[in-house]
Amino acid sequence: MEILNVDNVTINFGGLTAVKDFQLKLLPRELVGLIGPNGAGKTTVFNMITGIYSPTLNKIYFQNIDITGMKPDRIAKLGIARTFQNVRLMENLTVLDNVMIGFHLHLQSNLASAIFKFPGYVQEEENIYQKSIELLRKVDLERCKLEKAGSLPYGQQRKLEIVRALATGPKLLLLDEPAAGMNPQETKELMGFIQKVRDDFDLTILLIEHDMKVVMGICERIIVLNYGVTIAEGNPEDIRRNPEVIKAYLGVEAQYA
């Protein structure tokens, strides 16, 4: 049974149809890539799934719950987390705070017990702290936990954003160009990290990426979008050979890649 079902959605901005009849079904623990040229509508798909935009036509279901038009924070509570193409961290807060914020949506204590530091809250805060440190350790960011998030190198900021998304306890993780701006070594580490995250946290991952090495290397299934329309879908081998994809996106050389 699928965890996410994007059922033929269409979104218009004024007269422009950004995404048309987009269909996507994700099974639990799948790792799926979404590729396509710039402006194809990939990020728009992400924005619809996370509630930033609401589709003009048809609906999106997450674990059989209709999430169309729901506010982003409610969708996050249901278990969808994402990262952004241009990293969006709380730049003036510490690395540690950036992760701890991710746990806020599951906070049990009420406002008064948080202000006056009742034992129940203090215990909860301690738990959040421990879990955050654990997460930071996984990406090797623990030693700079008290630095400002904005002062980290770009590659580490991307990792931190993934960790923050993980802190919300998602079932589905959407990664928007996780390898952008990373050097080859970092990209290699990232690929391992994404697979490890999927296994450790039992996640379904959908990722947008331009780096074909990443997409072909880790995705089990790939969807190709062009001008808001799905032009191909299949496993990496099929996609690599698909003449339409080559024409629209990969280019001729990719055949030999």
Partner: protein, 355 residues
Amino acid sequence: MKKQSEKIYTLIALIILVLLVYLAQHRLDAYKLRILNIGAIYVTLGVSLNLIYGFTGQFSLGHAGFMAIGAYVTALLVLPPYYKEIIFILEPLAWPFTVLQAPFIVALFLSGLLAALAAFLIGLPVLRLKGDYLGIATLGFAEIIRIIANNLPHITNGALGIKGIPEYTNLWWTVGVAAVTIYIIKGLIHSSYGRALMAIRENEVAAEVIGINLTYHKVMSFTISAFFAGVAGGLFACLLTTIDPKAFMFVMTFNILAVVVLGGLGSITGTVIAAFLFNFFLEYLRPIEAGFSFGPIKFPPIPGLRMVSFSILLLALILYKQRGLMGGIEFSWRGLFQFINRLLAKKKPTEGSAS
């Protein structure tokens, strides 16, 4: 162990504060006490505005309005019924205010609650706006409150205002309320909810996507901020003993805003220091206005020169300290000891070279 000793330091500091308040209340003349009282009220106002503007990042200019609500509620509650009958000459005071009377502390609390209620109602629609637009909307709200106060003579006595309010406010009250405000707002900031507020300030979209309910958190911050502004308004009424709508013009809001920016957005310590400095300068620059001689050059008395020189001071400060007096840093015992150590360390090398 370390936390323990910090608690002891805090306790000692509080005892010293109580002693200082006691001394000031008994030794200082009325003029100096007035400045200190207003300074302490500005601490409450500034710290509460810092919560919504500095920590939550929502540009609110409605503080004078919330103060006005608090001031009128307190005034109407602490005045004895027979006296209210005498001063309401434009129109008789409307029931139930004619019979209501409450002790000062209850009046202050209710002032805060009513201001908070107003903030809740106005915040729900208005906090959807961002940046300057929110500023204009909240400024408009504050002006509406003032104009309502001007035009509801059977509740507020209109433009005549309310006079003869008992002078309950003293340094115990103002410093006490300021301390409680700091304690609660600091407690809020250093909690998961506080982190959520700062996350909204830093990046609204990201905050929403990681599950922070924007409306709930913004309205919560706005309401708490207004609560303390209302209480400060009540203190203000019982300090000046006279209130009228003109006291709550938008200049009041800008004074508070100046304190917050001067102290540094997002720094409670900075706000506290700036609140007192602001009021000291405003008062001690008065001699300039009276005319003075600078060597052979004689300056004639020019009315308004005080505000001009004050503005120049503000300009200079903002130019050289863009992030405020404290630069966003908070007071901590560790920070203080490090600072002292550094001062001592600077002296040491000279001693070393002498020996």
